[in-house]
Symmetry: C2
Subunit: 194 residues, 2 copies
DNA sequence: CTCATTTCTTAATCCTGGTTAACTTTTTTG
DNA sequence: CAAAAAAGTTAACCAGGATTAAGAAATGAG
């Protein structure tokens, strides 16, 4: 069922029936059970993953052995280690499902083939990367212009539904602080509104 | 003198003579004097800028009125606000030369035209954005796995030449701490090597 | 339904780096 | 070359979150 992906692509570029069929032919769909992995440290990242349903996380282990989440992947987002995927070098990231998920995979090989068969897709992925880049810029800004507490409160107002879906310690990890601290600020009334 | 740019592009994709000429035709070169601006808050970002020579910075003003540098642009790097450039919405960033600089500009209009005339360039910019994305990921990692002091010491060992070129307070701003703190750690011998 | 595991909470203590402010050195400009 | 502006230094005090540890609550598996 690659319809969701085709629909997403069509929001950025316009595919003909034939092109859409080629995209679909190069994509495979995978069910990922909660807590299962799409990538583990030391492996080469094999594919770019489009989340149709469910939620994944991308994290690395820091020197204290903590899992630091750098990205969540929810419906209609791509998740991968572009660096490892592109260079073929081993990744130090983990990609794991935090809910049962349905994912469309485009392997490195299919990806390269896709660029040849449907050159328009080059543009699509340029736009996807531009969007990811803009998101990263914004995240840097928040990191440096807000206190941890403010960042948490803002996140909750921006994505109230998402906060319900994930354990708190993962949100703390994503926002860059400890679960203890998150618990602390949840336990008191807001002073400043973010 | 767009040779530097063409050479750079050819490291990622292969342009024919004709294609290279079209790229050159759509690019304009500008000399930017130290402290002059390519973008100021409230303006719409007009172009993507390729640094041939010199050094620029991209920063925003936080709520305390401090200039927080999110990116430096040195030789062979692109610098722009992709979000504003793409959407046509006003930027809240500033791009400023911190040395006399020579810059190749590709305006939004030229950019769009370029993608039509030389579709290969779509791929080039996808790869450029991929590189920027990878750099952002790495920066997130360092931010969360190292103390400010370690990050400073690592930066100095990785880019000793660059550190010489810029004022310390800009390096502090880029690395995410205060000039006073930078001065403090410079004034003492390293305890842990980063 | 019960036991084991995972997740969340609370509190005491500590530390990294911020803030403020005054001063020194360097760079720029007329 | 002199004065002004910009950049860098030092130090006292402070605060936002980390760390550690122990227990409580929720979730899941058999």
């Amino acid at each position: 069922m690659t319809d969701t992906l085709i629909a997403h692509i069509n929001k950025f570029i316009r595919l003909t029936e034939d092109e859409a069929a080629r995209v679909a032919a190069l994509a495979t769909t995978v069910q990922v059970k909660k807590k299962h992995f799409l990538l583990q440290p030391g492996e080469v990242c094999r594919a770019n993953y489009f989340v149709v349903k469910g939620c994944l996380r991308l994290y690395f282990i820091n020197r204290n052995g903590q899992e630091l989440i750098t990205q969540f992947g929810i419906e209609n987002w791509w998740i991968t280690d572009y660096d490892s995927l592109e260079t073929g070098r081993p990744s130090h990231y983990t990609i794991q499902a935090i809910e049962d998920a349905e994912v469309i995979c485009i392997s490195k090989r299919s990806f390269d083939e896709l660029m040849v068969q449907v050159p328009k897709m080059e543009r699509y992925f340029r736009l996807i990367l531009q969007r990811a880049h803009t998101a990263a810029m914004r995240r840097f800004e928040y990191l440096r212009d807000q206190s941890d507490e403010e960042r948490y409160r803002q996140f909750v107002t921006l994505f109230p539904g998402f906060v319900q879906r994930i354990p708190q310690y993962m949100l703390a990890s994503y926002l860059g602080f400890t679960p203890q601290f998150l618990s602390k600020i949840r336990g008191k009334k807001p002073t400043k509104q973010a």
